[in-house]
Chain length 172, copies 2
Amino acid sequence: MALGKNYDGQDCSLAKALELIGERWTLLVIRDALYGVRRFGDFLAHLEIPRAVLSQRLGMLVEAGLFTRRRYQESPPRDEYVLTEIGQELWPTVYTLAKWGERHLSREPMRLFHHVGCGAELDQGAVCPPCGVRPALSQIEVRPGPGLDREKRDQVTLALRQPHRLLEPLLP
Amino acid sequence: MALGKNYDGQDCSLAKALELIGERWTLLVIRDALYGVRRFGDFLAHLEIPRAVLSQRLGMLVEAGLFTRRRYQESPPRDEYVLTEIGQELWPTVYTLAKWGERHLSREPMRLFHHVGCGAELDQGAVCPPCGVRPALSQIEVRPGPGLDREKRDQVTLALRQPHRLLEPLLP
């Protein structure tokens, strides 16, 4: 059934948010960026997404202010895509939805999220239980969990087999 | 661009969650159910969604265990749709995404969420600041905010002009 992108008549903030990030793949692109993926080819290899779709999504997210484009090589010209503060603020949504999926749809967690300060695992609401705080992204480490996919061999997947701080560039 | 419903090769819990609730309208149906909407006609009038889409979404959500169907009238037969525990657990995702949309895409909040116990407004992470707890859904009241849409006249919109506890049936 063909459906437009907009939710006419739904003037609420959830509908507006869904118009922006509710398109297929968009939230997975944002998740990868939270892990520290920045380059087109790395998103492409990790997500196994059609190239045109990735290109459209990144362009749309730059335009909406969730990513900035940054030139990292002049010849040939190459840009990387860095999450802005606005994009980073989707972390609680990405995290709580992934945890929900883990509880109800997966068997074991692929990734665990720990507070760097004390090493404790975050709870379902992204709070560090012993410290009682919601750590900043730079203070959260993603670690491989028991449900890790051992089949995939792209660079992002391989890099995420080691503990890694959110937002820090994942690949050189 | 035609894209399938599934994210092949993405064996993570976020992709699985998106396969289920990432389709257009689904999260808005769940939001309405959190407010206490239960009947087909009420979802239909409030969301202004095509009838066939709503029917497909509710059927899919029942099958996936996020809603149960409950007969409330025998002649003619009429069912209502009630969120299960699994469906209710999407509250943090719905809430944090709506708040994100409010901060970055809307002007003023349409709805405010308060802890029934102390009356305080929940923070961006659905925590009650003075109490330091994330209240259960039955302890959260949705109230009209300054950005309320005064144009819409359907029964759900009108009922939500009064404070109302989440999950409690909104209409008789």
